[in-house]
């Protein structure tokens, strides 16, 4: 197969360093991967081409890069699946992280975030003499997360990290979940309360936008965003609800559980902690005013859907803690 590999290159030692595109025409086997082509270029055409790679079998995590604009492992991507009608692809360094040279990026921020979640098991109490007893299901569930090879594909494509490098990001949060979900970890009856408390703070689990980029990018099926959602569930369960994220989730569910639909007027108010949060309310005021003057304010009087009692029945049954006995009577959404 003859393919054209268009590579975004960067030479930090050039007189005027800047990124530029360079095209290579290579001939490879029909079942070759993107990495096979890059290695061929490096070994036979241009020894200055720089990239990290090692295992060739999607386990070492070295070769994450953007292929046709999206992060993935070069060694796990068959060329035939990604070439366009002209048998061409583009290859760029992973996003978010600083480029060192060509396709090699600086992972320091990645490791800083991993280190920030105290990534080692912290059991409470006395270690057993033998192994900890744990169900196979719980271990298989964790293995789905520990399958993470730290390749950085999720970080590369994270929409939040793109605008805010302080966010812990998908890899570190998935790593954190690997401990909070571990029956062996935790400082209170198997609940990793300290972890959940600190992960509920700013730059933590609630800053994720649920954009699914990391789920799409992950080459190992770890689905980091799903783990972040599971972290949120654990945090709320453990009572760490004094933050806008947890309030938002609870208020949203309450609104729908009570009326069947979303109350868009009251939701932001409840999310920021009610009308007593004067600063936040003032910051919404200009937007609310503009909306009002443009005739698009959500209805002040939120209506219930037809047959709402059926929705409330499900709410009471399926989320009794949140629904409470008062639903339908004294709810703030009434």
């Amino acid at each position: 197969m003859d393919v054209t590999i268009k590579i975004r290159r960067y030479d930090p030692e050039a007189e005027q360093p800047g990124s530029y595109w360079e095209e290579f025409a290579v001939s490879v086997a029909d079942n070759a991967t993107v990495l096979d082509a890059l290695i061929k270029i490096r070994e036979e055409m241009d020894g200055t081409l720089t990239l990290r790679c090692s295992c060739r079998s999607a386990i070492c995590g070295s070769c994450a890069m953007r292929i046709n604009g999206h992060a993935g492992l070069a060694c796990k991507t068959p060329l035939a699946l990604v070439v366009d009608e002209n048998n061409a692809i583009t290859v760029e360094p992973a996003g978010v992280m600083r480029v060192i040279k060509d396709l090699a990026v600086d992972f320091e921020m990645f490791w800083d975030k991993i280190r920030a979640v105290e990534p080692y098991l912290q059991p409470a109490g006395v270690e057993p003499e033998g192994e900890y007893i744990a169900s196979n299901e719980s271990m298989l569930h964790l293995s789905g997360v520990t399958a993470c090879i730290m390749c950085g594909a999720c970080v590369s494509d994270c929409t939040v990290l793109e605008v805010d490098p302080t966010f812990l990001g998908p890899a570190a949060l998935a790593k954190a979940y690997r401990f909070t979900a571990d029956p062996r970890d935790g400082n209170r009856e198997g609940v990793s309360r300290d972890r959940l408390r600190s992960l509920s703070e700013e730059t933590g689990m609630w800053d994720c936008t649920r954009c699914n980029e990391c789920v799409q990018a992950c080459p190992k099926g770890v689905a980091p965003m799903d783990r972040i959602m599971a972290l949120r569930e654990q945090a709320v369960e453990a009572g760490f609800t004094n933050n806008n994220g947890a309030r938002h989730t609870n208020a949203f569910t309450e609104s729908v559980g009570h009326s069947g639909r979303l109350d868009e007027l009251r939701l932001p108010i409840k999310s920021v902690g009610g009308v007593t949060n004067v600063g936040a309310m003032l910051s919404y005021a200009p937007v609310g005013w503009r909306a009002l003057t443009h005739g698009k304010m959500p209805p002040i009087r939120h209506k219930n859907v037809e047959n709402v009692e059926q929705v409330r029945r499900l709410f009471r049954k399926l989320d009794p803690d949140l629904a409470g006995p008062q639903i339908g009577r004294n709810s703030p959404f009434g």
Binding site: N31, G47, T48, S54, S57, F107, G130, N136, S143, A147
Partner: protein
């Protein structure tokens, strides 16, 4: 100058285990690796880790016997005893650190069957046990006080008056050379698989530590013992775990016959790796394969089992060969996978050079002898990594730092690097030399070998060595110059390649992985001994060491 009591080179499982142990023993410890620790090749161990747990009714002596028989009686039995006795606590340590081992119905650690062993004692995490262990060890490294030099490449050893003084290292991201002073050095640099083409090994597995130790005067022992793994994927040569056969997969020829019944009627597909690889190669040579491959058949295992326990190798088959093992047999063949040989050490990792240690695949203790059992390599790294770290930390207490001039050391290495960068372009490339070396090795020092073929490899290497002396480095810059690193690695590989070929031609018998068609029988009378290669004037100089036998006398090996 950067200065440490203990400097561990290589950050795979053995290296990190050694560093953590040394640090826990109070030594100022650093670990240096040409890749980030989690990129290390320990990742690639798929199937599991062996341990004989007493509370499962298993016995370390049974494990030891299986290991000794697997080694074709070339393993040192005192070392094997140390490893098998320590296995249980090493395993439980890893579990306590957080490894998510698969469990049995009672919630205890589950096992699977593995080759060459009479009972199931292989503990595992799906089919990515090495990765699971490596990442947990990295977590412990983060927790420790160990200083980590990531993406630093060790270019040479500093030896003053026979005593190790430290190392010279290239900081890859800046291209700057540094001298690091150390009282003790522990090589944990892994194997040398890239000397072979193809190989299951990662591109970083280039025998650096073996070559550095060899060039400093240490002996490389049993280098002819190179393991060809029975199930490597057609084409790319990537590994498909023995776990597949451990879970019940069959090997079939082109007519669907389970040919192993003719080679190992009792253990069948789960005979020792050398036995299975020879069987496959014999069938392929007899025309019973397809395109140089036989087949690994998992189709009867069922989707649920494959998804729970073999999901990663299934993906590899799909991605790299377009074959889904749930539905069809996968074409496989024997492929170079592991080297039993390595830097000769004692059971505490000490080499013949004072202050220099080695552990893991780069070392030869020797626990694997002529053939390593599957799932003994992870165990080897952890047990002897820890022992080396402990011993080195202890030794440091009474060792002084060796005095040497940092400026001179840096200037000397700088001149060597500059000479390489300044070479004129002569049209040759390191990639071409490496390819020629690898192909010669796989052609001539193969599953089956003889004097003529091995001698051909020796001649090839001499020629390639001449080419290497003038091979240009295309990239003249300093920042992240992988071109330069590859050229340096090739030098290491050529050194080690010679020791493999010389040792292979020397051992005039068939034992373990050294199957000589010109000497088809095992010859205990003349060859129940180790071959040690030391650097001589013009090439490796060979000598012999006795095999330590404690209670298991050599016997005929049948599976």
């Amino acid at each position: 100058m950067l200065e440490h009591d203990v400097l561990v080179i290589g950050a795979g499982l053995a290296g990190m285990r050694a560093a953590i142990a040394a640090s826990a023993n109070g030594a100022n410890t650093a670990i240096i690796s040409k890749v980030h620790p989690v990129r290390s090749h320990s990742n690639a161990a798929q199937g599991g880790i062996n341990a004989a747990l007493l509370d499962r009714g298993d016995d370390w002596e049974d494990h030891a016997y299986d290991t000794i028989k697997g080694s074709d009686f070339l393993g040192d039995q005192d070392a094997i005893e140390v490893m098998c006795r320590s296995a249980g606590s090493a395993l439980i340590d890893m579990e306590h650190m957080g490894v998510t081992f698969n469990r049995d119905d009672e919630g205890r650690l589950g096992t699977r069957a593995f080759g060459g062993q009479r009972r199931a004692r292989t503990f595992f995490v799906g089919d990515f046990t090495g990765q699971a262990l490596l990442h947990v060890m990295f977590e412990q490294l983060i927790k420790s006080q160990v200083r980590s030099y990531e993406e630093w490449f060790v270019t040479s050893l500093i030896i003053e008056d026979g005593q190790v003084g430290g190392v010279m290292a290239l900081e890859i991201r800046t291209g700057q050379l540094h001298a690091i002073r150390a009282k003790t050095i522990i090589f944990c640099t892994g194997g040398c698989g890239r000397i072979f083409e193809p190989s299951t090994n990662a591109l970083i597995v280039t025998g650096d530590g073996m070559a550095l130790a060899y060039n400093a005067g240490a002996g490389l022992m049993d280098m002819e013992m190179v393991q060809y793994h029975p199930t490597t994927l057609a084409g790319s040569g990537v590994l498909l775990s023995e776990a597949a056969r451990g879970e019940g997969a069959y090997l079939r020829d082109k007519n669907g016959n389970r040919f192993m019944e003719r080679y190992a009627p009792n253990m069948m597909e789960l005979a020792s790796r050398d036995v299975v690889s020879r069987a496959e190669q014999t069938e392929i040579n007899a025309g019973n394969g397809v395109n140089g491959c036989v087949f690994l058949d998992c189709t009867h295992l069922g989707e649920a089992l494959i998804m729970e326990k073999l999901s990663q190798i299934r993906e590899i088959g799909i991605d790299l060969a377009g074959v889904d093992m749930i539905r069809e047999p996968v074409p496989i063949r024997p492929g170079m996978h592991y080297i039993m040989g390595g830097i000769k050490t004692d059971i505490d990792g000490q080499t013949s050079i004072p202050g220099v240690y080695a552990a893991g695949e780069c070392a030869n203790v020797s626990v694997h002898g002529g053939n390593r059992l599957g799932a003994n390599s992870l165990l080897d790294t952890i047990v002897f990594g820890e022992r080396s770290g402990n011993h080195a930390a202890e030794a440091c207490r009474s060792l002084p730092f060796v005095d040497f001039s940092e400026d001179e050391a840096v200037a000397r290495e700088e001149r060597r690097i500059k000479e390489m960068l300044d070479r004129p372009d002569n049209g040759d490339r390191w990639g071409a030399i490496r390819q020629a070396m690898g192909e010669s090795m796989v052609r001539n020092v193969a599953v089956f070998r003889d004097e003529q073929s091995i001698s051909e490899a020796v001649r090839d290497f001499a020629e390639l060595r001449d080419r290497y002396a003038t091979v240009p480095v295309e990239n003249k810059n300093r920042i992240f110059n992988t071109d330069l690193i590859f050229a340096l690695e090739l030098g290491f590989m050529l050194d080690v390649a010679d020791t493999i070929a010389y040792s292979a031609v020397e051992r005039r018998e068939s034992r373990g992985a050294n199957a000589r068609t010109d000497y088809p029988e095992r010859d205990d009378e003349n060859w129940l001994k180790h071959i040690v290669a030391k650097k001589g004037e013009v090439g490796p100089e060979l000598s012999y060491l006795p095999v330590t036998i404690t209670k298991w006398q050599p016997e005929e090996r049948k599976y």
